[in-house]
C-alpha cells in the first residue's frame, strides 16, 4: 500500500473519487437515491475545476445514457451512474450502447425496483439488465468499488472487448457507508487508465477507428434486419467470451500497481468445504463473518463471492465449487414465474452437464432492503447441512427473512 492514500469514503464517494482521477470527457447523469452522492460529488469536482469533464446535467436517465452514447460514439470517455427506476428508464439504451460496442462505464447503486416504490437495496435493477450486453461487476465494499471503478475502463475498452461496463454496489449498505479506502496517486491512475483505445473497422468510406470521425465518416446504428442482425449479436456474444480472457489481464495489471488482486470468483475457506454459499455484493461480508464462526464450531463451511456476473465465469465456477457437496445460492432478486432467482438458474445451468456437481438450493433474500442478519445466514448454513445429511434437496427455492 506504499504511496497509497487512505481515505474515508462511502461507496458512492469511492465511485466519484475514482472517476475524478480518471477525468473522463463526459459525465451525463441524473440523480436517484442511493446514487445521488456520486453525481453530487462529481458536480463539486467540476465546479472546483478538479476535472476537465463536461458534466451534462440531463433531464432524465434515458437522456443520461443517450448522451453517453453520443459522447462515446464521438470518441469520448463517457460515464454515468444510476439505480433502480433510473436504470429501468434507461433500459432501451443499455442494449443500444452494447450493440454499438461503446465502452461506457456506469455505476449502479443497487436499489429495489418499483413497484411499489422502494428505496433500499436489492439486485432487481441490475439483474433486470443482465441480458443487456454489459459487463457486470459486483462489489463487496468501498475498496472494491474504488478499484472496479478504475478497472472498468480498461476492461470495457480492451480491444478484444469493447463493451460497456456496470459497476454494481449495494445501495446504502455500500453507497452510504463510510469505509477506509486505499486510493492510488493520480499519476498512477492516469498511467493505468491511459487514453481510450479504438478498434479499426472497415466502414463505407474505408478503414477507420470505430467513432464518429469527420475525416472518415462512419454510420453507426443502422437499420439491421434479418440478414445481418444475428451476426452482429454473435459478435457481442464473442466479445463477452473475449472479456473472460481480458478481465484477468487487466486485473493482473491492476494488482501490480495497487497490490490488490481480483478475480471472477473469490473463494473463502473452500479447502475441504461441505457446505458453501455463493453470492454477490456486500452480503458476502456477512457470510464471511458467519463462516468464520462456523469454522470455529467445526463446521466445514465456506463461501464463494462472485465478482463478475457478466460474462458469467462458467469454468471458474466449475473449478471452484464443482466438488462441494452442497451449495446455497444467494439471490437478491426474484424472477417471477421462473424456476428460481437469476444467479441460481445460471449456477444450475452451469452444472447440468457436469458429472461432479453440488446439490444446489436457492435462497432469495433481502428484497426491498430487508435486513439480512448473520443469524439468517447461519440459518441458511444449517439448512444446507440438513441437505448434506439427507443427501437430497427438498425445497429448491427458499425465501429468507420474509413473513409467511
Amino acid at each position: 500500500m506504499k504511496n497509497q492514500i487512505l481515505m474515508g469514503l462511502n461507496g458512492d464517494e469511492a465511485v466519484a473519487y475514482a472517476t475524478k482521477q480518471v477525468n473522463p470527457d463526459v459525465v451525463a447523469a441524473y440523480p436517484i437515491t442511493p446514487q445521488t452522492i456520486i453525481v453530487e460529488r462529481f458536480s463539486e469536482y467540476v465546479a472546483d475545476g478538479e476535472v476537465d469533464t463536461e458534466f451534462v446535467a440531463v433531464e432524465s436517465e434515458h437522456s443520461a445514457l443517450s448522451s453517453c452514447i453520443g459522447a462515446a460514439a464521438a470518441g469520448a470517455r463517457a460515464f454515468t451512474a444510476t439505480a433502480a427506476n433510473g436504470l429501468a428508464l434507461m433500459w432501451e439504451m443499455t442494449y443500444i450502447a452494447s450493440g454499438m460496442r461503446l465502452p461506457i462505464v456506469m455505476a449502479i447503486a443497487n436499489r429495489a425496483l418499483s413497484g411499489p416504490i422502494n428505496i433500499p437495496t436489492d439486485h432487481s435493477d441490475s439483474m433486470g439488465a443482465r441480458d443487456s450486453g454489459w459487463i457486470q461487476i459486483y462489489c463487496e465494499n468501498s475498496q472494491e468499488v474504488y478499484d472496479a471503478s478504475l478497472a472498468a475502463w480498461r476492461i470495457g475498452e480492451h480491444l478484444d472487448v469493447q463493451l460497456p461496463v456496470m459497476v454494481c454496489l449495494d445501495g446504502f449498505t455500500l453507497s452510504h457507508t463510510m469505509e477506509n479506502v486505499y486510493t492510488l496517486p493520480d499519476e498512477k491512475v492516469r498511467d493505468f487508465v491511459s487514453e481510450r483505445k479504438f478498434i479499426k473497422v472497415e466502414g463505407h468510406m474505408g478503414e477507420t477507428e470505430l467513432r464518429l470521425n469527420p475525416e472518415c465518416p462512419l454510420t453507426m446504428g443502422p437499420l439491421d434486419l434479418q440478414d445481418y442482425y444475428f451476426e452482429h449479436k454473435l459478435q457481442q456474444i464473442d466479445a463477452m467470451k473475449q472479456a473472460l480472457k481480458a478481465i484477468p489481464e487487466i486485473d493482473a495489471e491492476y494488482a501490480k500497481i495497487s497490490g490488490r488482486s481480483y478475480d471472477f470468483l473469490h473463494p473463502y475457506r473452500m479447502e475441504d468445504t461441505e457446505v458453501a454459499i455463493l453470492g454477490l455484493g456486500s452480503t458476502m461480508g456477512t457470510v464471511r463473518y458467519v463462516v468464520d464462526q462456523l469454522r470455529e464450531e467445526g463446521v466445514k463451511a465456506g463461501l464463494v463471492k462472485m465478482r463478475v456476473f457478466r460474462p458469467f465465469p462458467v469454468e471458474e465456477l466449475i473449478k471452484t465449487v464443482g466438488n462441494v457437496p452442497v451449495l446455497g445460492v444467494l439471490d437478491k432478486a426474484a424472477s417471477f414465474g421462473a424456476p428460481g432467482g437469476p444467479l441460481y438458474e445460471e449456477v444450475k445451468t452451469t452444472f447440468y452437464d457436469q458429472p461432479e456437481k453440488p446439490m444446489v438450493v436457492d435462497y432469495i433474500y433481502g428484497l426491498g432492503g430487508r435486513d439480512t442478519s448473520p443469524q439468517m445466514i447461519r440459518g441458511i448454513y444449517e439448512n444446507l447441512m440438513g441437505v448434506l445429511e439427507r443427501g437430497s434437496v427438498s425445497d429448491r427455492v427458499c425465501f429468507v427473512g420474509v413473513r409467511q
Binding site: G99, M100, R101, L102, Q162, I199, V201, E202, G203, H204, M205, L210, L218, T219, M220, G221, P222, D224, D227, Y228, E231, H232, L234, Q235, D238, A239
Partner: protein, 92 residues
C-alpha cells in the same frame, strides 16, 4: 442477385455500415424518367435541389445530368422546372 452474405467475423464490429448506398440502385423503381431539353435549360439548378434522390447533378459547365441508376421517376423535377424544359417519358 447471388450475393454471398458475410459471416460474423467478416462484418465490421458495432454494426457500422460497410457499404455506401450508391451501390444500391433505385433506378428501376418507377416507370418514367425525366428528359431534359438542355437547349431550353437556364441552368437554374433547382431540379438538383428538388430531386429527392439527389439523382440530378450539375456538370462542370452548369447543366443538369440525371443519374438513371437512382431516378425513381417521381416527376418532381419536371413539375418544378421553371421553364418547363423537363418532360417525363417512359423508362423503357
Amino acid at each position: 442477385m447471388s450475393e454471398r452474405f458475410p459471416g460474423w467475423r467478416e462484418l465490421p464490429k458495432g454494426a457500422v455500415s460497410p457499404k455506401s448506398s450508391i451501390e444500391y440502385k433505385t433506378g428501376d423503381w418507377g416507370v418514367e424518367k425525366p428528359g431534359i431539353d438542355l437547349g431550353r435549360c437556364t441552368q437554374c439548378t433547382l431540379c438538383h435541389f428538388f430531386c429527392p434522390e439527389g439523382a440530378i447533378t450539375i456538370s462542370e459547365d452548369g447543366h443538369p445530368e440525371v443519374g438513371m441508376d437512382y431516378c425513381k421517376g417521381c416527376g418532381v423535377c419536371a413539375e418544378e422546372c421553371p421553364v418547363k424544359c423537363i418532360e417525363m417519358v417512359r423508362k423503357r
